[in-house]
Amino acid sequence: MEKLVCVLCPMGCKIKYEAVDGKIVSVEGNRCPRGIAYLEDELKEPKRIVPTSVKVLNGEMPLVSVKTSKPIPKRLIPQFMDLIKKVEVQAPVNVGDVIVRNVLNSGADVVATRSVKRIGSA
């Protein structure tokens, strides 16, 4: 049996599994069904949610925190960071606003995780 820690949530389930030719034949230890999806991805194409931030123009803060709306392939992370460094948005920004749609064709959007008011607005 192979062992793997699910990183999808702070529970950090220790998943024990057996795989033959990349196919999972038995799984135990996952406390929710997301664990199986994680395991499948981990064997095929590891994916991660990427939290970071982008520049805000005319905002009350210099940055707005963002995340990918769902996990993106791990191998895309360096490319993702290069792209995100060049992104700038105009304040105001609200939680949930889409900053970049379908980033790097991953199917995930980059969404704002905080609200930033425009300078001088009440």
Binding site: V7, P10, V50, S115
Partner: protein, 405 residues
């Protein structure tokens, strides 16, 4: 000014406590020294929050925003004073507050203290060597990068493998600072395993276990950090020194409950170093309740929220005249490093938080006549368990033990 409830601190615990008290029909004033509510959540832009409480995964700012919205639903009952610092709390239930509008006095019936924690500072580590610039605690590094948009250095070493340290290792890497390693004096990682994977392994950042920093060197800016292996008593082993050429050192060496304001008013717990509390959140001073990281350091903000709600609920019941008398001490026993709360009042079942002393594959947790088996225990992952009231009846001391099986 007069109020029913004064909440000190508008982080996760304070916001939850204020809402709970407002729901009970009380008038609440929340004093927050920062310009915004949300506390440290605002700078924790990583995901992993809210899974227990909201049943979905949020980032820190998102979690804070949800509570900010909830707070705003109670504007009739709750007044939030930001940029407002409580200077002093007196025995006569009067607080002295200061804000840009001036200094003023506030009279309250009850206080819910939710001031959170501080980071253990570099000075307390007694590391020999120079004192150049380039040494940051993880939380300060986080604030500089995530709020103020500052890059803190080019090549960094991290001391301590706590969650914040590992998360900052990833953050620094993503932002173009090379992280040469994480140094941990224990033989196992100090934070969650998921963070070892997604913050270190994903980026090939080495984790040096059973190692410690023995010297820092640098004139103006940090230049070198000397790391050595340690024996089982954490004593550096001569001849094992390694030199890391870095300009930045980030410390993730623990949080300390912030208790100074209540000095002399309430008892502290020697293990948690926080405010000693009953299962109702009540401190040794009956009109002061406390919740969150100022009582004990919690793993998850979800737990902090729940404790804030609990303190808010019982503090409200205290204001309208209820008294919680039976307080049975809860004491850590075999293989248990610490427990929270520190005593039990039998008004409800007991939600107990336990940190084990060492990693264990399988152990039986015993609390009174309650028993449950847990697997894969490590000190950095808190056990949370609800112990039914009936299992604790008639005890005059509740010992919590973990027997390895």
């Amino acid at each position: 000014m007069k109020t029913d409830v004064l909440v000190i601190g508008a982080g996760a615990a304070g916001m939850a406590a204020a809402i709970a008290a407002a729901k009970n029909g009380l008038k609440v004033i929340v004093a927050e020294r920062d310009e915004v509510t949300g506390g440290i959540l605002n700078q924790c832009i990583h995901n992993g929050f809210g899974l227990h409480y909201f049943k979905e995964e949020l980032t820190g700012p998102e979690y804070a925003e949800r509570f900010r919205e909830r707070l705003s639903e109670y504007t009739d009952a709750i007044q939030v004073l930001t940029d407002c610092h409580v200077l002093k709390l007196n025995r006569d239930k009067k607080a002295l507050l200061v804000s840009p509008r001036g200094v003023f006095e506030l009279e309250t019936k009850v206080v819910i203290y939710a001031a959170g924690a501080r980071e253990r500072p570099f000075g307390s580590l007694m590391i020999p060597g120079d004192r150049p610039s380039g040494i940051f605690t993880a939380g300060v590094a986080q604030r500089l990068m995530n709020i103020d948009n500052r890059k803190i250095g080019n090549r960094a070493l991290i001391v301590g493998s706590g969650d914040i340290g590992m998360i900052m290792a990833r953050r620094l890497t993503l932002e173009g600072t090379e992280v040469v390693g994480v140094v941990e004096r224990l033989p196992y990682p100090g934070g969650l395993l998921r963070n070892v994977i997604q913050c270190l392994k994903d980026f090939d950042i080495p984790l040096y276990l059973s190692s410690t920093v023995v010297e820092v060197r640098g004139k103006e800016r940090l230049e070198e950090v000397v790391v050595a292996n340690v024996d089982e008593h954490f004593k550096p082993i001569p001849g094992t020194e390694k030199i890391f050429k870095v300009d930045t050192l980030v410390l993730s060496v623990g949080l300390i409950p912030q208790v100074e304001m209540l000095d002399g008013l309430v008892s502290l717990d020697a293990r948690t170093r926080g405010i000693a509390c009953s299962s109702t959140g009540q401190s040794s001073c009956e009109w002061i309740f406390a919740a969150g990281n100022c009582t004990a350091i919690f793993d998850l903000v979800d737990y902090v929220t729940r404790e804030g709600e609990r303190a808010g609920e019982y503090a409200s019941r205290y204001v309208v005249g209820e008294r919680f008398t039976r307080n049975v001490p809860i004491v850590p026993g075999e293989n248990v490093m610490l427990t929270f709360p520190n005593s039990y009042s039998d008004v409800d079942d007991l939600t107990l938080y336990v940190r084990c002393r060492k990693p264990m594959e399988k152990a039986v947790l015993k609390v009174g006549s309650f028993e449950r088996v847990f697997e894969d225990l490590i000190p950095s992952e808190m056990i949370v368990v609800r112990v039914p009231k009936q299992k604790l009846m008639g005890l005059d001391r509740i010992e919590v033990t973990l027997a390895e099986v």
